[in-house]
């Protein structure tokens, strides 16, 4: 595919890619670009739900495996709030393994030797796809908060537009957890004929007041940092402290009380007694600070604002007359809805509401709740039963699809 030239990257993506990433790319015969593959969208202007239009859009994505001759084995993996397209290769900045190598890879549930897997950096993201840190063509400077507010539907429509451009007519499976699950639901509702099977995990069809509240805390932390500078911080230090606090607060919501207790309890960090000060006395404090400080190295604060906003705006039923079942009327997609007992951010009741709506239209749906103390992040972690269940579902769907 012909690729248009691109402007120089800025902010974090300018960092030299990590050696682990470079080695993986070299072995695959790919370029060093930390964004993976980057394509300019041909179907522009791209009109957003808000009514705003983007005259230029670039999309960064990763692919694994081979598209078969019938083009029937494509799997779209949708990433969550702070994820990116590097689902099954070392991360270009941190060098850590891909964020879902337990799920995606050779011999895994989403088997890259059997399926053609594509993972796309979402619209508004910060690893190559058009977002607030990319250049606004009208000014020649980074968008900052002049970037239009985007929605989950916009993310999905951009993914669909890219797949059109790549000549992928439909998807054998769309899978994702958390915000990735919202995209899965939107895909299934918006393009039912293009989704053979859908796996929304640890997600909701509607962001709750509690979800919005936590996001607002994160956004206010970023905007309270003087280095945020009204969003025009590119070239400067940037709101690292604010973004770090936002990440720390959010990270607590991804865990569970039982999990935190089991892992940290009240254990002290590198000391035998309380220090009577405000250093990180407790291991949990040290852990959260580490989570915050490593996060700011790889994520853009403005992207965090935009993507959390998109999640807050997510209310699938609202787009279909207020009745969630209407979103799935006459669907022929096979669904597997998954929740985790200790996930209090998107509790099982949210998944059950999705299942009720699917039952109401007699959709082909499976629903499992898995017992774990690992909280919302369970979908990213080693929960063996989770992968056993999905292996069964995906295997049966592939058999039905004839791949």
């Amino acid at each position: 595919m012909k690729q248009a030239p691109f402007r120089a990257m800025n902010a974090s993506a300018q960092q030299a890619p990590h050696p682990n990433y470079l080695e993986a790319r070299r072995l695959s015969g790919l370029s060093d670009d930390p964004r993976g593959t980057v394509t300019r969208l041909e179907a522009v202007p791209f009109r957003l739900v808000s009514g705003a239009e983007l005259d230029e859009v670039q999309v960064a994505y990763q692919t694994y495996g081979t598209l078969n001759a019938a083009r029937s084995n494509a799997v779209l993996v949708c990433h969550a709030l702070t994820g990116d397209q590097h689902v099954a290769n070392p991360h270009p900045i941190t060098g850590k393994p891909g964020w879902w190598e337990l799920m995606v890879g050779p011999g895994q549930v989403i088997d890259t030797e059997r399926y053609f897997v594509i993972c796309i950096n979402v619209l508004g993201g910060c690893l190559g796809t058009t977002g607030p840190k990319e250049t606004n063509p009208a000014t020649g400077r980074p968008w900052g908060i002049d970037f239009p507010v985007i929605t989950v539907a916009d993310m999905v429509r951009l993914q669909a537009a890219l797949l059109d451009q790549l000549g992928i007519p439909d998807l054998f499976c769309v899978i994702g957890g958390s915000m990735g699950g919202m995209q899965v639901l939107d895909w299934a509702a918006r393009y039912p004929e293009r989704v053979f099977s859908a796996i929304p995990i640890a997600t909701t069809a509607r962001h709750s007041a509690q979800n919005i509240a936590f996001h607002e805390v994160g956004r206010q932390a970023i905007m309270a940092d003087p280095n945020w500078a009204g969003g025009a911080y590119y070239g400067g230090p940037g709101p690292k402290a604010g973004l770090s606090v936002a990440r720390m607060a959010a990270h607590i919501t991804y865990l569970s009380e039982a999990g935190l207790h089991a892992k940290f309890g009240r254990k002290l960090q590198d000391r035998d007694a309380l220090a009577f000060g405000f250093d990180a006395d407790f291991q949990i404090e040290s852990y959260l600070r580490h989570q915050g400080s490593t996060f700011v190295e790889r994520f853009d604060a403005n992207s965090y604002l935009y993507i959390t906003r998109a999640m807050d705006y997510f209310d699938l039923a609202a787009d279909y007359g207020g009745l969630l079942a209407n979103a799935f009327r006459d669907t022929r997609t096979r669904f597997c809805v998954v929740s985790f007992t200790s996930d209090w951010l998107y509790p099982t009741a949210e998944s059950r509401a999705i299942v009720h709506a699917l039952n109401a239209v007699a959709a082909q749906v499976s629903f499992v709740e898995l017992e774990t103390d690992k909280g919302h992040d369970s979908f990213l972690l080693d929960v063996p039963e989770f992968y056993d269940v999905l292996r069964g579902f995906v295997g049966a769907a592939a058999e039905r699809r004839g791949i």
Binding site: R334, C336, V355, H356, N359, A360, V361, A362, Q364, V365, S366, F367, V368, E369, L370, E371, E385, D388, V389, R391, G392, F393, G395, A396, E399
Partner: protein, 224 residues
């Protein structure tokens, strides 16, 4: 046509489940309520080419089913049947679960709302061994189909075949077919007499509908 025990063993599936499978027309839409580990569901999908789904209350059962590639939701039949649209299925099946429902009567009505037909099987509390254990030992029965002790059994609404026929009459439900299953797990010819079946059958299997037709093979009108 009776199913042989050997046939069932060959497929590693209970005889009563095979009999249910035979009641289901090939290619139809089926909801198996209380599908357990999915043995019947698997049989319906793979041997009867049915578009079959399941509902199961236990997390372990659901996970086992989905891992087998079956479409199963975790749910409570007493609460969640109401979510399904009317006429969504050709058959709603309640296999050995009727007696465990909180509201059996409402459950039966729900089944006949979401399914054009209902298939119900349950252990017969009028079975002679059950009667004898109560009569002579004065203890709650312990049989092949009623194994849990009284204090932790899920079976809270046990009934006899005649009780069930009476409920069907009360609800205006037509019994299209009735199969009595004897102590050997095989269909028995005693089904022509509900009173005899009530004594000799260990399990009962009914095909039900509203204003359906009775088996033209001359099955009697089941009313007491």
């Amino acid at each position: 046509m009776a199913t042989t025990v050997a046939e069932a063993r060959a497929r590693d599936i209970r005889v009563d489940l095979l009999e249910i499978g035979k009641m289901v027309e090939s290619g139809s839409r089926v909801l198996d309520i209380g599908c357990g580990d999915g043995d019947l569901l698997y049989h319906l999908v793979h041997d009867r080419r049915a578009d079959a789904r399941g509902m199961e209350i236990s997390r372990e059962g659901v996970n086992a089913c989905v891992a087998r590639g079956l479409s199963v939701v975790q749910g409570d039949a007493d609460r969640d049947l109401a979510d399904y649209p009317t006429g969504a299925f050709d058959y709603a099946i309640l296999s050995q679960t009727l007696q465990a429902m909180r509201d059996t009567r409402a459950g039966l009505e729900q089944m006949l709302r979401i399914g054009r037909r209902a298939i119900v099987s349950f252990p017969n509390f009028g079975f002679w061994r059950v009667r004898l254990q109560l009569l002579f030992a004065g203890r709650m029965p312990d049989t092949a189909t009623l194994q849990n002790p009284w204090y932790n059994t899920p079976n809270i609404h046990l009934c006899t075949i005649r009780d069930f026929i009476s409920l069907c009459t009360e609800l205006g439900v037509t019994i299209e077919r009735f199969i009595a299953i004897d102590a050997g797990g095989k269909p028995s010819p005693i089904a022509h007499s509900p009173r005899l079946a009530n004594l000799l059958a260990e399990q009962a299997l009914f095909l039900l509908s509203y204003d359906g037709k009775r088996d033209p093979a001359g099955a009697p009108v089941y009313s007491d």
